[in-house]
Symmetry: C2
Subunit: 391 residues, 2 copies
Amino acid sequence: MENFNFYSPTEFVFGKDTEANVGALLKKYGAKKVFLHYGGGSIKKSGLYDTVIKSLEKEKIDYVALGGAKPNPVDTLVYEGIKLCKEEACDFVLAVGGGSAIDSAKAIAAGVKYDGDFWDFYDRKAIIKDALPVGVILTIPAAGSEGSSATVITKESEGLKRGTGSNLLRPKFSIINPELTYSLPMWHTAAGIVDMMAHIFERYLSKTQDVILTDRLCEATLVSIMEAANKIMQDPNDYEARATICWAGTIAHNGFLGVGRQEDWVTHGLEHELSALYDMTHGAGLAIMFPAYMAYTLDEDLERYYRLATQVFGVPQNHFDKVGVALEGIERLKDFFAMIGMPTSLSETDAKEADLPKLLETLKKNMGESFGSFKKLTIEDAKNIYTLAWE
Amino acid sequence: MENFNFYSPTEFVFGKDTEANVGALLKKYGAKKVFLHYGGGSIKKSGLYDTVIKSLEKEKIDYVALGGAKPNPVDTLVYEGIKLCKEEACDFVLAVGGGSAIDSAKAIAAGVKYDGDFWDFYDRKAIIKDALPVGVILTIPAAGSEGSSATVITKESEGLKRGTGSNLLRPKFSIINPELTYSLPMWHTAAGIVDMMAHIFERYLSKTQDVILTDRLCEATLVSIMEAANKIMQDPNDYEARATICWAGTIAHNGFLGVGRQEDWVTHGLEHELSALYDMTHGAGLAIMFPAYMAYTLDEDLERYYRLATQVFGVPQNHFDKVGVALEGIERLKDFFAMIGMPTSLSETDAKEADLPKLLETLKKNMGESFGSFKKLTIEDAKNIYTLAWE
């Protein structure tokens, strides 16, 4: 086990009707004028927007609103938000939506307090030293941004998708009402499920040995996610299953399931190129890339893959064929992804094999010649993994 | 699942040699003059005290020290601490030790900011509205106070043991170095292990249905605790096992393993009378009371006890004899407690059956006529459970 800092100061307010308390929470955290950032029109149709405004008005909290955050949120909207937020002298950023709205809200919160170009944070040219406080009402369980220090933004003009993070960006509070996710289309539900599972895999597939408590907590969460996914396929309004997915998505990414281990994130790196080039849904890209990455790195730690297969995917123990058991685990993961409607091969998507050189070129620009910690990968390895992902 | 707030803002700094950074952490959290509170002389013998002072001096942080916190920490020391802390105008309370030092440090932190008698907080006459910030260096994994909002103090003159809590008392940081626990005698190691398991049981044995993710996280933690306990019995200097116990003790009580459920705490109530009357080690009292409580409440939710037996204690499934399986689970728990050197019956302790009326009388004073949520208990039920605990 490695030394670690675990710091997750966010107040998580979880359950039915909790969004109606957003005004009181904002007041508690000192907000006077809120910059309300959201995605598309769905929160207006669902009535959530009105609930939020009513709660703000009740507490006499002023606000300015900016919608338009889309999956793979873009820098142009962030610039617009920073400008508006400064002009209006807002002192708190409230994101209402999924990871895209939250990630651009975080970028705005940091950008407002920075004199230079906010992209410097994503370009590794500057470190976040100050930010407006951020609050969240979550509508899409997936990215885990409601409990994390991270934000990922795409620079549209260059097709670059990059992330940064700071404890200053951890939300003061995150309101999570599972009922708000009932209306989420199955595609987005499924993509979110893949995303949170991927956040766990990036931590679980680690070279660090002897972190057995964290291993078991990861396994418990993965099993619960898949069980709940199954229930949601039967009944999208299953409260307990939606609640499991919501909470699992949060703990999958607030750092808790990674304590004591070296984390990896190389598969996210490989996927980011896909979603930047093809505007592919992040979760769909991960559903394709993870099984390929796992198969490619099987020899790196067979025992770990054997454990994953037996503890999470229910593959029967067979100590005489550990490779077979481990591979069966990966097959079951693919079957699960397919069952919830996700692609498991690049051949099911718009991706073209002819683009492979382009993919690898941007990958090199973003990640360098060598990357990954569970297995040290080169650009050649990345090529092999993308190729496996086409099969 | 019930609605919940989960708020654990403490920065956990975990691992080898982390105590040497206490000065830097105090500085980060704004401390100028620290009230250093600790237990017995063991931290001086071990060199920990010197490490702390050196780190404070390095950061030019002034301090005043008060030792003497004992198991079942007493009000008289808290009064002394409040007086000294006020006189010296300290602005931060640092606890170095186990639950006793941390709990009285929390009482001092709240008492300093209150004009009345600090016991008012424990007597339900006042609510904590302000407190000095608290930091922790943990040396005994058990009470979970390093991550909790709670504090329990014993009023010596009346033999009353009472708890209170406030988010204001959650430590700003907690330093947890598993190596500091190598020298902990096996008795205290074992009592701590029982205590953290009990913190999980108080949350796991709940009437609230459908909190399966939390159930699995509890089970994962319980299994990991027992496995690590076994390793420590073989080798007290097993770092990974000590680390598992330390981290498990923290997450067992920072609220994480109780989310979405009604918690109970009645067994703690029953035990508190024992440790107040006989100065019994809290963990030893819990090792006696929990199996008795479980046997007495088996019918309340057989399915839950069946799940506990099969998922945590490895009892083979047998759907034709769920009672038998559940009882076997409780037996295995007793066997585990005995294996780590804990008593499992009051007959192994100083407790006298003739004291039963006295025990019940104080219990009534502390808990009223009726208590408990998993099973509503009366004083008569409590009598039956104590009687079972004598067998």
